[in-house]
Symmetry: C2
Subunit: 289 residues, 2 copies
Amino acid sequence: MLIDTDPYVSRGERVHVTERQDPVIYPTDHGTFLNREQIAFYDHHGFLFIPQFFSEQETRQLLAEQQRLWETSQSLDDPKIIREPGDETIRSIFAVHDHDPFFAELAHDPRLEAMARQILGSDTYIHQSRINFKAGFSGKDFYWHSDFETWHVEDGMPRMRALSMSIALTENYAFNGPVMVMPGSHRYFVSCVGQTPKNHYQTSLRQQRYGIPDHESLRWLAEQGKGIEMPTGPQGSLLLFDCNIMHGSNSNISPYPRSNIFLVFNSVHNRLAAPFGGTEPRPPYIATR
Amino acid sequence: MLIDTDPYVSRGERVHVTERQDPVIYPTDHGTFLNREQIAFYDHHGFLFIPQFFSEQETRQLLAEQQRLWETSQSLDDPKIIREPGDETIRSIFAVHDHDPFFAELAHDPRLEAMARQILGSDTYIHQSRINFKAGFSGKDFYWHSDFETWHVEDGMPRMRALSMSIALTENYAFNGPVMVMPGSHRYFVSCVGQTPKNHYQTSLRQQRYGIPDHESLRWLAEQGKGIEMPTGPQGSLLLFDCNIMHGSNSNISPYPRSNIFLVFNSVHNRLAAPFGGTEPRPPYIATR
């Protein structure tokens, strides 16, 4: 008899750190868009930053389309639009690949799909997409987390076979609250303490309270790798990162807002099952089923 | 008849930005501890960063003395000890030059005094001192401000003839909420809107609500100079900055706490008068009289 146990149990009563049970780079005959050094870097560190991946013209268009979407979303009362805790500033717009023709096309950009296939070793689909805005002067911090921990527990993503791509729409400086990653942390799974409440997503997208790693594990993770990296660079830069890398961001009091497009590619062999935490699945604008 | 008007009016109903009416570097025959390039840099940018100013041995001692003072202060109920908004973590301990023999000696370090005299063109005294602790994981941001604006309005410091020295006791990384400065901003005085409430200092040291510059002025200041600088470096580094430079810091979710010793040197020709905002003077542990 085969006993099927979940290697990535979380939200229990005890913290434990376990080794990753899945490859980072999956065997593939899906081409070589990224070169050997880039693949080795991603494998080792769990992320890859490509400055000015998009041309100036492409970047201008991305920015214009993002501004159009922001403006038309300001007064909408739509669950896909997430606002800052404490005020009504838009923080994220979800599922842009699904409800907006321009971003739908972007999600099928052949270069992006080629990289996703090369790393995940299969065809892919968009698990989640969003535009993030971090306002100048008042952008809030976003605490450390592994996306996979949430996607596994709350969405039912079976294994670590997904990756995020973040396209910088504004320059990412060290001082305007850029994404910070812990290189090498993608090789460990940190279980988090606490039962997930019902409909957790309705508050967690504004401010996270469950799925939060403990201080000791975070210190340990930072010391395993090379501390903390802040990939920064001009508009049009691209950040690829593994679904399980520990990441977060500080606040932004600078006058310079920060906005990014996030696209999450999942392997077609890793489609969602029932949430491993036993809660109801989150809505499809957060996790494609 | 001589009409004596205050060139640095603030806390009124209207924002206005005016040019600085005072030198940055005062004429001096007080020696040349800093070289010509360092003085020119400070004059132009309003700050100077000297990596590893203190020797390893000195830095170890500074750190040990700071830890001793932190530990003995944990459970004290003393107005000189300022705690984070929302919890009881210590954020600052004031007047360490006054109530602690080790830090009293540090405040008279001949090298520090020589630099202060060289820039301010006269003998100096300690206007304010403090140790700042920015906790790992939860250190809060500190919004943009000019120290001089507060010292003028709330303490009665007549002119811009003071400077701060910040000694790094932990490594300052870009990601652990280091001081950010707007180079060149020391050449402009930004008046802030709003009447100062009575006993403002009792809350402002935890979280500032008055003496806050407006967004438009901050954007303008950042564009006048070179945007924003984050002087970062190892333990024992020294940051000198003008009393009127616009500065602040982002939050710190990293596991690495940040702590600094702050010493403010004021010219003996710039001793405090009655507060220019018309309120009662703040207590001597915040502003030496």
